[in-house]
Symmetry: C2
């Protein structure tokens, strides 16, 4: 039950599944389901039961043989593991169509992830106002001081492709440590900066390739 893990040795594939486990245990607890097991988990989220058990075992003995996993315990465990027992404040960079949607996206609903600041270039009329979501939109030129006000280290990047690298440089200079990158640009950043990319066109094209060639594959996560 005690953590015995150096997170740096955790398989990357396991890390990517952690949010799925966390979400599931939150759901189960909401439904007042007090226990579950690796087979049921597998059926619900599409991850092989052996993989589930192996993933969990990396963190110690989280379950009980012959019984399964206690929902409440596991939910607490993953909440803590993912830093979701405290609030995480996030800045959104680029309030265009996509940025606007992300401002309203319910990250916060069942997680303590909150976009609390937004940025755009001064020529955007939204700058200086508070968006309909209640979040202030600042001039990107003032980013450093505003980020410090709220101790923000994470940014969502949803600017136009041609500005992606230049804005990423600004974010790094302003002290951002993690970037969720919605542009299709491979960002060049110092090695201590973390980038997670979501490439919408790539996902759609991949789907279409699988579909037109009817390539058999179990449903695709990650």
């Amino acid at each position: 039950m005690v953590e015995k893990v150096d997170y740096n040795n955790l398989p990357k594939a396991t890390i990517k599944r952690l949010p799925q486990y966390y979400r599931l245990f939150k759901q189960l607890l909401d439904e007042n389901t007090t226990r579950t097991n690796s087979r049921k988990i597998s059926e619900t989220i599409g991850i092989d039961a052996a993989t589930v058990r192996r993933d969990f075992s990396l963190f110690g003995e989280l379950g009980r043989r012959g019984y399964g996993y206690d929902t409440k315990i596991l939910r607490e465990f993953f909440a803590h593991l993912l830093g979701n027992d405290v609030d995480t404040y996030i800045a959104l960079i680029g309030v265009g169509n996509l940025g606007h949607a992300l401002l309203h996206y319910p990250f916060q609903r069942r997680n303590r992830l909150q976009i609390v600041q937004a940025y755009d270039v001064a020529s955007n009329p939204l700058v200086g106002t508070t968006s309909d979501s209640g979040i202030p939109v600042y001039d990107i030129a003032d980013i450093k001081s505003h980020l410090e006000e709220d101790h923000i280290e994470t940014a969502i990047l949803s600017v136009d492709t041609p500005h992606a690298q230049e804005v990423a440089d600004v974010l790094v200079a302003a002290g951002i440590k993690g970037i969720l990158n919605f542009t299709p640009v491979f960002l060049q950043v110092p090695e201590h900066i973390h980038v997670q990319s979501i490439d919408l066109t790539k996902e759609l094209q991949t789907l279409i390739f699988f579909t037109i060639n009817d390539i058999r594959i179990e449903s695709d996560n990650d």
Copy 2:
């Protein structure tokens, strides 16, 4: 140069990289760069040079030893491979905040991917109108006949989580073959239906885990 591939034997990891290769060769051609090589490709998109060469070699001899790869040839090749030499029509299901942003997202800009229909439930006032993007918004109850009009087999699912499975069932019944799933639900679909999922909260939480634990990793695609 001749295709010698059964696409079903293509590594899944390779397939996911194909859109990145395609995008790069389009860009290079736009910049009037007539040739490139695996090392430069690697630096630009962050995929190991040996992986690039191996991926390409799965499709035959696409390059020339001592020279590299011809931009024009490769762009044509990947366009055809990804079905981007013809138009692909897509339906968007769920015109909320995210759906609205996706309606405006420039999938089409450099690709022949077009959202040409949108759907929502009849109670949504947008239904029966044409959205500001010029795309008609239909009642989901009428989906089957409308999809047939435009020969649509691909749908983007951006409905609220509680309705995801039920709407997916409707899509399958209406003849959809591929679903780009923006909900966090693991969709249960028949085995001939392809699902590609984008889970925004999962990506953000994964980023935060990497960031707060400062886990060293090369920038993360896929």
